[in-house]
């Protein structure tokens, strides 16, 4: 193991360069992020993930964000264990009705300002499960959604692009429509 650690010290990191924040995601966010939220959060986001009926494909790719290749934490984004610590709720799945109440309770336990991100086609549109007797369908039929990351499942790069857009929005790089126009 020592051998591996020494080798790691001299080897180039396996981590890839981060992608640019997704354009579509930036546009979607521009109108939603308020100046107050930006001031409070700075360049740091805590995410609470909620599986609301996913097939677990999305979870696998969200997990991959933490591997040394994508290394999400270098951007100041990290996953937290409690909704009380979260700025972002990353929701997957077509909102199975059996998870409906748990989802709402988790959202209510998350302090403001908070963003709700729909990750994956199921959360965005209901996906293949739209119309099922056991699913509510798209996440925005249950709660207002701030950002959608499509894909079945979205790749780690697609997830990263979306989350980086959120980070930029929260750090004030995107001019929020709700913010007062700059003087002069």
């Amino acid at each position: 193991m020592l051998k591996h650690m020494v080798r790691s010290l001299f080897a180039r990191p396996v981590t890839i360069d981060g992608p640019a924040a997704g354009d579509a995601a930036l546009r979607e966010l521009a109108a939603k992020v308020e100046a107050l939220a930006r001031r409070r959060l700075g360049r740091s986001l805590s995410i609470r993930e909620i599986d609301a009926g996913s097939c677990n494909g999305c979870e696998l790719e969200i997990h991959a964000l933490n591997n040394p290749i994508y290394d999400l934490e270098r951007f100041g984004i990290r996953f937290v264990a409690s909704p009380r610590h979260a700025d972002v709720l990353l929701v997957t799945g077509p909102v199975s009705l059996n998870m409906h109440e748990a989802l709402l309770r988790t959202i209510n336990a998350t302090p403001q300002p908070r963003w709700i991100v729909a990750a994956g086609d199921c959360a965005c549109t209901g996906g293949l499960f739209a119309g099922s007797y056991a699913c509510a369908g798209a996440l925005d039929s249950v709660v207002p959604v701030d950002l959608r990351i499509a894909g079945c499942p979205p790749t780690p790069l697609q997830l990263l692009e979306g989350l980086l857009a959120l980070l930029e929005a929260s750090a004030g790089k995107v001019k929020a429509a709700a913010a007062p126009p700059a003087a002069g």
Binding site: M1, C55, N56, S96, L128
Partner: protein, 511 residues
């Protein structure tokens, strides 16, 4: 005890009822109420493992294996008054399946040991969605309205966990009873990710239904799509091209490798040893990236289709796979050696979460849960399906039944799968990839080895070739109950370790 109960499975079922035509590749027997009663009696004395129990309309089907005779069969009872004799006393794995049957199809197991709902939490828009007599309006009740098993004793306390967990995992509720740090009972409540998948598949073309099958459990998308497609191909009598079998198997073995790499890392991480996880996730990522390059999808969704495969393995991608197989094993073996050399890590995994031998014999669980405890079968070998019938390999088997043994089963399977891929890349025949599946009625069954154990697929196709009923039984159905026995007398802090070493699917179970 009647003498016919002592015969091999097929002969015994033939005595209890009569065989029906058109069920492939294994026979199906229709039993009357008396015959079903004889079957229940026979299960009390025979060791036929229960492979699945499900309802199709008013009919209850049970799939069984006779290991010594290498026979597989389905026995069916057409219920008259929506009741059937419970199998739960003879096969405890049937208990939750019977509860699911009542929730979905409205058929009641008489003499069942547990009458609580299972998948239906009182939230659906309708009740009994698969009831042949027509669905009924919803009967709403509070989602928290559930009777957990009582525990009495001095100094016990209760720890409710879930459905939303601390990590990035699927939702389920665990009700622990502990005496200090020691667990005296765990009871799981599942069903939170029930999506009505089986109902959605009804009336769909086999091509559309295959996409849903691929989303029964995302980590086993290849295996579940394969189980569906093999069941459809059995039902319609289609022979798919030889190359399609091999391309499917390459996908399935990469899926197994990727999942085991992720699990080995995650188990070590739950023992606070993040080093192995960091390295294993890099190896897993390399496999997924190679699969994305070769097949166009990291998890290989929607690539196994009825009649064959949707994409070919191009020669340059086959070469890339061969290179990856060579590159993967040395760093993986390094990780295995580190695992073996860290006393503090082994201290957490060895003798933790032992599955009791008596319970193994009652459930006979598939996959690593069984193979780590001296049991277990491998659908690639028995009943076997192409191309595995042309490849020689042995199933790794350990006997300790603890977390460590489940890690070691995975390690051995990674080695085996990578070597198998190397052989398949050489031996793979050329030729077409896909044939049309005729629109014809029929019944078919399949057994496919996913990374966590065998998946059972059973399909009934309507006259126009659409899906009249599909049932998938993920390996998790036979593994979840054993997790509850494995954590007994362990400390609360070791539960994540035990749970990860099982890594049962929630979505694959809840459907």
């Amino acid at each position: 005890m009647s003498e016919s109960a002592l015969r091999p499975l097929h002969a015994a079922l033939a005595a209890f009822g009569h065989i029906v035509d058109g069920h492939r590749p294994w026979p199906r027997y229709v039993l009357d109420v008396a015959g079903w009663g004889q079957l229940v009696d026979a299960l009390g004395v025979r060791r036929w493992p229960l492979l699945g129990l499900w309802a199709d309309g008013r009919t209850v089907h049970v799939a069984l294996e006779d290991h010594s005779a290498a026979e597989f069969a389905v026995a069916s009872l057409e219920t008259r008054d929506a009741t059937y004799h419970s199998l739960g006393a003879a096969r405890p794995a049937a208990i939750r399946m019977e509860r699911a049957i009542r929730d979905l199809a409205g058929l009641n197991a008489v003499g069942g040991v547990d009458d609580r709902p299972w998948l239906d939490h009182g939230q659906w828009r309708i009740t009994t969605p698969l009831d042949a007599a027509g669905v009924r309006p919803a009967v709403r009740r509070a989602a928290t309205d559930y009777r957990f098993l009582p525990v009495e004793g001095e100094g016990l306390h209760q720890i409710p966990v879930g459905p939303v967990h601390a990590g990035i995992i699927e939702p389920g509720h665990f009700r622990f009873h502990a005496n200090g740090e020691t667990l005296v009972r765990l009871e799981a409540r599942l069903g939170y990710v029930h999506k009505g998948t089986e109902a959605l598949m009804q009336g769909k073309s086999v091509a559309d239904a295959a996409r849903l099958a691929g989303r029964i459990s995302g980590d086993s998308t290849v295996a579940h799509a394969l189980a569906f497609c093999r069941a459809v191909e059995a039902a319609t009598g289609v022979d798919i091209p030889a190359r399609a079998h091999w391309v499917r198997a390459v996908m399935a073995e990469w899926e197994r490798t990727a999942n085991h790499l992720g699990d080995i890392g995650a188990i070590c991480n739950d023992a606070a040893f993040a080093f192995i996880q960091a390295h294993c996730t890099v190896l897993r990522e390399r496999v997924l990236q190679a699969c994305a390059k070769a097949f166009g999808h990291r998890l290989m969704m929607d690539l196994v289709v009825p009649g064959g495969v949707a994409v070919d393995l191009a020669p340059e991608q086959a070469a890339a796979f061969a290179g990856l197989a060579v590159d993967l094993l040395p760093p993986f073996e390094d990780m295995c050696r580190i695992y073996d050399s860290k006393g503090s890590l082994l201290d957490r995994t060895v003798t933790t979460g032992i599955t009791p031998r008596a319970e193994i014999e009652r459930f006979w669980p598939p996959g690593h849960v069984g193979r780590a405890a001296g049991a277990g079968r491998d659908a690639r070998l028995v009943p076997g399906y192409p191309p595995y019938t042309e490849l020689s390999f042995a199933v790794p088997r350990f006997t300790a039944g603890d977390v460590d043994a489940r890690v070691r089963v995975r390690m051995e399977e990674v080695r085996q799968s990578v070597r198998m891929i190397q052989r398949m890349l050489v031996a793979m025949p050329d030729g077409p990839l896909r044939v049309d599946v005729p629109a014809a009625p029929g019944e078919g069954m399949s057994l496919v080895e996913a990374f966590r154990g065998e998946v059972l697929g059973w399909v009934r196709l309507a006259a126009d070739g659409t899906v009249a009923r599909y049932h998938a039984r993920d390996a998790s159905w036979l593994q979840w109950p054993l997790l509850e026995t494995a954590v007994y007398d362990n400390i609360v802090a070791d539960f994540p370790l035990c749970n990860k070493s099982f890594n049962c699917s929630y979505s694959g179970h809840d459907l």
